[in-house]
Symmetry: C2
Subunit: 293 residues, 2 copies
Amino acid sequence: MTVYLIGIDGGGTSCRAAVAGANGSILARAQAGPANILSDPDTALDNIASATHAAFYAAGINARSIASARAVLGVAGNNVGEAVHYVKNRLPFAQADIESDGLIALQGALGDKDGAVAILGTGTIYISRHCETVTYVGGWGFTVGDLGSGARIGHALLQETLLAYDGIHDMSAMTASVLAEFKNDPRNIVEFARQAKPGAFGRYAPRVFEHMKQGDAVAARLLQEAAVSVDEALDRLVARGTQKICLLGGLGPLYSSWIAARHQSLLVTPEGDALSGAVALAVSRFGHLKAIE
Amino acid sequence: MTVYLIGIDGGGTSCRAAVAGANGSILARAQAGPANILSDPDTALDNIASATHAAFYAAGINARSIASARAVLGVAGNNVGEAVHYVKNRLPFAQADIESDGLIALQGALGDKDGAVAILGTGTIYISRHCETVTYVGGWGFTVGDLGSGARIGHALLQETLLAYDGIHDMSAMTASVLAEFKNDPRNIVEFARQAKPGAFGRYAPRVFEHMKQGDAVAARLLQEAAVSVDEALDRLVARGTQKICLLGGLGPLYSSWIAARHQSLLVTPEGDALSGAVALAVSRFGHLKAIE
């Protein structure tokens, strides 16, 4: 009986699964709803199972093979023992490792080579590998971390809009558009911000990049400040020996022309995505094993 | 029957009351628990009544005179109509005006003169009066406002500690002391910050001023950034005509040597406190009225 390998990329907005043969050749991929093991482990388990079933179905493999399959999962919150324990004991696979979403992204982008990935999305985290040592920088979340992230850029835009409303900073086309969206009443911004989660702030980040392209000086200033914080983190990775950098996440491509020239010269194109990284890790860990009957 | 005037300074940590004769001479002051009309209006009403009763008792006036007294209350949240309506209808006075805590502070500090107060505490707000027009700047709260406030300075300290932990910024004696307090585990900082209210962040602000005095370069940088945001707000007030500035709030005295020289030359000592300002407003509004029987 063939033992299939499974890669899972579980995120707060969706969960992706890939099924592969023992050599790592991916047979099919599929997607399901969110898989946040910290905030909602049961839904995460449901969606991990759904995505896996869909991938097996797409590959034309009987779902009964899931029970003998071996998986590597990349998820946020893999460092929280309690959540990992809960999920790991309830997975439908014969064997599974739960790793960070960052590690599978690193593996997907760089394969077995040394280097670093900067995951620049709603949050920010940097993962580097140097002589088999994997190091994490940042990733502390919106409240006191994630500098340069979409959430922080969106937050900065709302704060800047209030400063412009008060006449403390100059109003620009960008801040005027935000103020108009909140019916020109700053209290609506305050109320929105009071309840906003990082993703809600992050939805304002693309607007800053758009207005920057149209020459908005305030947008350029906010992005310059964000890029400085990304460059400072990258400096730290370079000081530790990083010579290759992949920019990942929704803001990765946008940042590629905003980071410092000293870092632009180190940029490389990712070899594959996080899901292919999860599969690659499954191959190296479980590819040599026989079926457990 | 004498009609007494009452001033109330209601805040999130305590409520103060003063009772005065019709000419505004303060007969006694007293204090009770918090009076936040937004978060807990019934407790606020209880504490407003308690502080008032205590002031009347201290002045040797029968508490029955409270029902014929006229009051001015300065509170946070006076711009939220629903909360004001609820509280105003339940006050034990013959007549009362509910104003902002900022307005009574302005009145107390400057009397009837033009000028501005910068209230620099857990939050920040600026109130100016110019030719009888009162203007508010800032005061939007911790999430997207209150730059330069104790809460924002404390927040910046925690964020800076994580940057130092990651090696992105240099560790200083100050950030090392914070990290040690959180058992050298950055996750404890993240967890604290996740649940912290502005006051909890603000309790870290005095530490920044202390370390600045001891020559800590990181402390000096954080305070410089905070002072720039205060100076930018003061620039706005000066552009509107302000020629006198009082720095109030817990951080007011600490900021007096950190703001720009152009603003230091405009600083004046406050004539009185917010409670005396509330009484002064009560005199000007109600001092000429006869008793309502």
